[in-house]
């Protein structure tokens, strides 16, 4: 007799008002498998997982754990049932140390030494290097992801759910993560659900795959028996040209407008401690420059400076030839610099404001008089942006929190791109977007450049850099360590440069 599956979902349906997030989903999760879950932004993947964790309650449908029907009322109980999840967005407490964050989720008395030793042991066992005493606020996205994973693994879950864990990781980090997951399923016989928008990851890292579209399962198959093209087609429901998703985008087209000699953005000697060390970089109007490097080499600090969140210890930022007073709030934005921040929940959006308000929040003046906000103008503008950028929302008045992760990212993109900036900085812009949305994003960024906007793309993804940019600078330990035209760049050369060898 075959063993019961670790988890079986039968006919799970969840509605939010008129939105059907999950529509009669059946899903079986075997022990010892990595199960890929694919779907467009807003397809219902996260909702389904939140139901498994007891954060939401399904309207109908049943869940069996090891063959027994269970009702999951909350994360505590899910943990008791051996279900644990790494969320799409980080749920760590910045001012606390790594070990404290790990201890947060557990019940009972907390013993500092024991927790720290536990963190070390788990880190050792799974190859997740992390310092238990580091403050989480100072960690890079990749390191935070490790903390999240450690937090989960310490609960010894039978079912481990990972909601887009690799969107913040470099390719090498992702490969490491998959190796860890493989060990977890093979040696420890756990079951893993892996959600990702990167088709290549799904095909290489999973055993079986389920595709959902608009809340319904449209494909269920052994991974070996499918192809990236088929998965993409099933996801969107029509034939698609496979581009960004599989990393075979054509080389960046020559810029429509030749890069002019005018420097639209000039960074001189930017230094923050820690983070940046005398960073100098120039971006001309009409070009797309890539800033490439492994996570944690100062990209976050640069993003913070360019978002106006931190004032650098030294150095200047010039926009269109004029230095910007970085101590004045909003000076950068007033000077014409738009930015898509890396961590959108931190500085990009206000989760408890409405979708419409988030779409206009940096340009409130456009939709208001001297004193009053003109609600009608605000809504009209928001509606236009939502349509143009394909944002799916329950309604424009719902809190941004209720949008799917990818749709939240689209809100930030729509707002910053539509601001007609002189300089556009996009940090990890494709994070969390589905295949179609990534292509749309790339097209828009190229159009921005050909309209004469200076575009700086900060990315840890080689494919993105190669597909999008005309020139690439590499960053290592807060410094620019190399610069070359993208046409001359390849994985090997960039790899050498980002290793700090230059």
């Amino acid at each position: 007799m075959a063993p019961e599956p670790a988890l079986r979902l039968r006919g799970i349906t969840k509605r939010y008002g008129a939105v059907v997030a999950c529509d009669g989903v059946d899903l079986t999760l075997e022990r010892g498998e990595i199960h890929g879950l694919l779907g467009e932004n807003g397809a219902g993947k996260s909702t389904l997982m939140r139901i498994l964790l007891g954060l939401e309650t399904q309207d109908s449908g049943a869940i069996d754990r090891d063959g027994r029907a269970v009702t999951i009322t909350g994360p505590r109980q899910a943990a008791a049932l051996g279900i644990s999840m790494v969320h799409q967005h980080f749920s760590l407490v910045d001012p606390l140390a790594v070990w404290e964050n790990v201890a947060l989720g557990q019940s009972g008395p907390v013993r500092r030494a024991a927790v720290r030793a536990g963190v070390r042991a788990a880190a050792e066992r799974y190859g997740l290097a992390i310092d238990p005493d580091a403050r989480v606020g100072s960690l890079s996205a990749g390191e935070r992801q490790r903390v999240e994973l450690l937090k989960c693994l310490r609960r010894d879950p039978a079912v481990l759910i990972m909601d887009e864990p690799t969107s913040v990781l470099t390719r090498a980090e992702s490969a490491e993560l998959f190796a860890v997951l493989r060990r977890v399923v093979a040696a420890e016989h756990r079951a893993v659900v892996l959600i990702s928008h990167k088709l290549a990851e799904i095909t290489t890292a999973t055993d079986r795959v389920t595709v959902i579209r608009a809340g319904r399962v449209v494909l269920r198959r052994a991974t070996a028996a499918t192809t990236e093209a088929e998965l993409a087609r099933e996801m969107v429901g029509r034939e698609v040209t496979l581009g960004a998703a599989v990393g075979v985008l054509p080389h960046a087209p020559a810029p429509a407008a030749p890069a002019s000699s005018q420097a639209a953005l000039r960074l001189r000697g930017l230094t923050t401690r820690p983070g940046l060390d005398d960073l100098c970089l120039t971006v001309h109007a009409g070009e797309i420059v890539g800033l490439y490097g492994a996570e944690g080499n100062g990209q976050k600090s640069l993003g913070d400076v360019l978002s106006g969140l931190t004032v650098p210890d030294a150095g200047t930022v010039e926009v269109a030839g004029a230095p910007v007073d970085l101590r004045r709030p909003g000076a950068l934005s007033a000077a014409g610099l738009g930015i898509v921040p890396e961590d959108r929940h931190h500085a990009g959006v206000v989760l408890d404001l409405s979708v419409a308000e988030n779409l206009v929040m940096t340009r409130l003046g456009d939709v208001s008089g001297r004193v009053f906000v003109d609600r009608r103008r605000l809504r009209r503008r928001a509606r236009a942006l939502a349509d143009e950028y394909g944002i799916t929302a329950p309604s424009l008045d719902s809190p941004l929190r209720t949008l799917s992760g990818g749709n939240q990212q689209r809100v930030v993109l729509a707002r910053e791109l539509s601001g007609r900036p002189r300089v556009l900085v996009a940090a990890q812009p494709s994070r969390g977007l589905d295949v179609g949305a990534v292509e749309d994003l790339y097209a828009r960024l190229r159009r921005c450049a050909s309209d004469g906007i200076a575009v700086l793309v900060i990315s840890t993804e080689l494919e993105e850099i190669l597909a999008l940019t005309t020139r690439v600078a590499t960053i290592f330990r807060g410094r620019i360590v190399g610069e070359l035209p993208t046409a001359q760049a390849d994985a090997e050369r960039l790899g050498l440069l980002t290793g700090g060898a230059a």
Binding site: L55, P75, G308, A347
Partner: protein, 346 residues
């Protein structure tokens, strides 16, 4: 509200009703009689209603101010002290300034608002210069305010009342001239509609409009919800918070002036003139989830408990029971939100 949230609320509301009843029964009283007394004392007749409405005004003013500061993320919990400072400044203005006619009332109200606003702003300043936590400093400033007022009313050359003859002067100020007092609206037999309530409602509506419809309100809300995103959008979070704190202090000060100039007090500055209105107003804002318009009925509810509670105390029931009810009701409204937030993090 989530299902568990609704349950929690229901249980706590039930506790708010049952627990005090039990306590009364245990101490040998009759719960039904106590409830009757509570309602009799707050809504029973025109006099009772007048009393309730009197209490509602300062409660509402404090709560509306608290809505502002809480929404901006600069948590002011020192309203009790700001009420006192407002009353102090109002008394000083009303007794010392030679303003003719009813304009004196306006001057008293303005002086109270200005002084208490400046008092609260000191906390914003300390936060900016030294990083002192705003909740902590506003709270501590309350104790300072109590000392200041006590000093003022015991010091003859400040505000202590002047006595003719041999009788010792009490720790209180002279009575304000009657032209500086809040009058009644209209002429109803038995029922007094004090002007203070009109002031409170107008302020609540104005602040609601300012918070929900103006750029200022939008910035303030944003700064409170996500300071990083606000800074990114060009908002000076400290400045916005400082203004919100000042406004909330000013409204608490206005509440102090209302206390001073309405029949709730003897129209003299006394050390206990604030009668915990600052603390209760904070609870009103908490229950109203920082929405000024919602604060209007909630302030009414708390005023009912207060007026009825005083009456109840007169019938021999320990007055702290009313405080228990107040606390439990507040919990009933606040607990579900807290629980929900926790489950999201977990």
């Amino acid at each position: 509200m989530t299902r568990t949230g609704a349950w929690v609320s229901a249980v706590i509301v039930a506790a708010a009703v049952v627990l005090p009843g039990l306590l009364i029964a245990v101490t040998g009283g009759s719960p039904a009689a106590a409830l009757r007394a509570l309602i009799q004392g707050s809504l029973g007749d025109a006099t009772a209603v007048s009393q309730t409405l009197l209490y509602a005004a300062p409660l509402l003013l404090v709560a509306v101010g608290a809505c502002c500061s809480a929404r901006s993320g600069a948590f002011n919990i020192g309203q009790e002290g700001q009420v006192l400072i407002g009353a102090l400044a109002g008394a000083a203005a009303g007794l010392r300034l030679a303003v003719p006619g009813p304009a004196l009332l306006v001057v008293v109200l303005l002086a109270a608002a200005l002084a208490a606003g400046a008092w609260a702003w000191l906390s914003a300043l300390m936060n900016r210069l030294r990083g002192v936590d705003i909740a902590v400093s506003t709270l501590l400033m309350t104790f300072l305010a109590q000392q200041v007022v006590a000093f003022a009313v015991t010091t003859p050359w400040l505000l202590q009342e002047s006595r003719l003859g041999a009788a010792a002067a009490l720790p209180q100020s002279n009575k304000l001239p009657s032209r500086a007092l809040l009058g009644s609206l209209g002429d109803h037999p038995g029922l007094q509609l004090n002007l203070g309530l009109a002031v409170g409602i107008v302020v609540a509506v104005l602040v609601a409009v300012a918070l929900d419809r103006t750029r200022w309100g939008f910035r303030l809300t944003m700064a409170g919800l996500n300071p990083a995103a606000a800074r990114h959008a060009g908002i000076s979070v400290t400045a916005v918070g400082g203004i919100a704190l000042t406004v909330s202090g000013a409204l608490a000060g206005l509440a102090g002036a209302v206390l001073l100039t309405s029949p709730l007090s003897t129209n003299r500055l006394q050390p206990d003139i604030s009668i915990n209105i600052g603390w209760d107003g904070l609870l009103v804002a908490l229950v109203a989830r920082n929405r000024p318009l919602l604060a209007i009925p909630i302030a009414g509810l708390f005023a009912v408990l207060r007026a009825g509670g005083n009456f109840l105390a007169a019938t021999g029931v320990p007055p702290y029971l009313v405080d228990v009810v107040k606390a439990l009701l507040t919990l009933a409204f606040v607990a579900p939100a807290v629980l929900r937030r926790r489950s999201v993090i977990a």
